[in-house]
């Protein structure tokens, strides 16, 4: 293990031990913060519970569907905007300010339109995740050298073939970067929507644990969610890095 990583791990372990001591010594109220060891136990107990596993499955399914739909729509929108520079310029202020907008404020309106269930949650997830894919696709297509287009024309490929066989593979690294951001945004949107109004999901379970004063369970579920989100993010980041190196 490299020295830098060893040092980082050392600091992390020290912080966890310090937190454990602070909690055990009664320096913070157990209703405010529970020791890390109890968080881990609560997480394992929660994972043994069928209802929690169903909540987790529901959240992960919503996130996966949101990312899938956002990827398809985002790549399509990116290709169209790249092909129409005037429309792209006109849309730029909206693209730049998109993530400042609290889009999940529209979630209650979506609930009235679609009813309580997975649809409004997935819709919110798609709205949040899509723009990062659009931006990444545009960036990827901008970086493609002109010679790639010329090679496609020399081979007498039509625009669909040039897009599918040349442009999208060439922009794949950037698009994947956008997708890994989309995963984070989809998690944010799905969990925020579940907090607001949803019959199930890990966000709902955390909110319920908080309102019923099950503080240990609440921390256990939070730890579980953070571990899942960070693991997915790290895996995508490492894949993105490797793909970038392979392309270069």
């Amino acid at each position: 293990m490299p020295a830098r990583r060893r040092r980082g791990l050392g600091v992390l372990v020290t912080a966890i031990v310090a937190l454990e001591i602070i909690c055990r010594a009664g320096l913070v109220r157990p209703t405010d913060l529970v020791p890390p060891s109890q968080m881990v136990v609560a997480m394992v107990v929660a994972l043994g519970d069928h209802a929690t596993r169903m909540d987790l499955l529901s959240t992960l399914t919503s996130v996966a569907l949101s990312v899938l739909i956002a990827t398809v729509l985002g790549v399509l929108a990116g290709i169209v905007l790249h092909a129409l520079p005037r429309v792209r310029r006109a849309c730029e202020p909206f693209i730049a300010s998109y993530y400042a907008l609290p889009l999940f404020a529209l979630y209650p309106v979506l609930v009235v339109i679609f009813g309580i269930g997975p649809q409004p949650i997935i819709f919110t997830g798609v709205m949040y995740a899509m723009m990062s894919v659009v931006i990444a696709t545009l960036s990827g297509l901008d970086h493609i050298p002109r010679v790639f287009y010329k090679a496609g024309k020399v081979q007498r490929l039509g625009w669909p073939a040039i897009t599918m066989r040349i442009l999208l593979p060439a922009a794949a690294t950037d698009i994947l970067g956008g997708i890994s951001l989309a995963v984070s945004y989809a998690f944010v949107a799905v969990i925020a929507s579940e907090f607001l109004l949803a019959p199930e999901g890990i966000g709902r379970a955390i909110a319920d644990a908080y309102t019923t004063f099950q503080i240990r369970r609440m921390y256990g579920l939070m730890l579980l969610t953070i571990l899942i989100v960070v693991s997915i993010n790290m895996a995508l980041r490492s894949f993105h890095k490797r793909l970038g190196q392979a392309v270069l």
């Binding site: 405010d32 400042a100 009235v112 339109i113 969990i191 925020a192 609440m218």
Partner: protein, 247 residues
């Protein structure tokens, strides 16, 4: 010639706005005005709400919390970013924490924020800072690390003092990235303050939004969303223009 190009560009943006309004109206006809109030109804309701004292208090509460959060997030982010970008040992500890914070759905942390800060102003400011600070840290540290070594060598050759080096070399070199990070911070802090108000406050637009969700008051939901859309859109566009000029 350039002026004419600029006018065309503004007209194009207005056309996109018009297309969005037409889309909104079509959806409104499709689902009914009880579910989704029309653009005209929403603008009329906005005018009515802006005249109400209670709404002005909420607007002011959000603005106040937002300004405090923005100052704390950008100043704190730049400070930690400078420490992180300047010293590798600090960066090794700070960067992973910031990356985890960026990836984590922070809305989930609201019970912890509530437990530690209580219901009110500090909680929503904490939420704003939690959202806005990490990207500023990462972007400032990256900007410092990517400064071309020749700048440092030139400063050493000219025997510049630390203050002069910072003033005439370092700050101008990282200024475009600082502006870009402020643009990101501007957007995310607003989101953070609103999330904080929705879950951990008894005042502000976020709290009013939550109350309107409970009361199924669609016109107020859309009015607040419209105000936030216009503010965030205008602010981000101005910062984007400024950001392009600094490059």
């Amino acid at each position: 010639m350039m002026k004419r190009g600029w006018i065309w560009r503004v007209l194009d943006v207005l056309l996109v706005c018009l297309a969005l309004v037409v889309f909104w109206q079509v959806v409104c006809w499709a689902v009914g005005t009880q579910v989704l109030p029309s653009p005209f109804q929403t603008i009329r309701h906005t005018v009515v709400l802006l005249g109400r004292a209670r709404f002005q208090i909420d607007l002011l509460a959000t603005a106040q919390a937002y300004v405090i959060s923005l100052v704390l997030a950008s100043a704190g982010g730049i400070l930690i970013g400078i420490l992180s970008g300047g010293w590798r040992g600090i960066n090794d500890q700070v960067e992973p924490v910031m990356l985890v914070l960026i990836a984590t759905p922070k809305v989930m942390l609201y019970p912890i924020i509530l437990l530690f800060f209580g219901l009110g102003e500090p909680a929503k400011v904490a939420f704003g800072v939690l959202h806005g600070l990490p990207p500023v840290v990462i972007m400032t540290a990256n900007a410092l690390r990517s400064i071309r070594p020749i700048y440092r060598k030139a400063a050493l050759t000219l025997r510049l003092s630390g203050r002069v080096y910072a003033q005439h070399v370092l700050v101008p070199a990282i200024f475009p990235e600082l502006v870009a990070s402020f643009r990101v911070c501007f957007a995310l802090t607003l989101l953070g303050v609103l999330v904080g108000e929705m879950f951990a406050s008894s005042r502000g637009l976020g709290h009013l939004l939550m109350a309107s969700i409970g009361a199924n008051d669609q016109p107020t939901i859309l009015t607040i969303t419209l105000i936030l859309f216009v503010f965030a859109g205008a602010g981000s566009s101005i910062l984007l223009m400024f950001s392009r000029r600094t490059k």
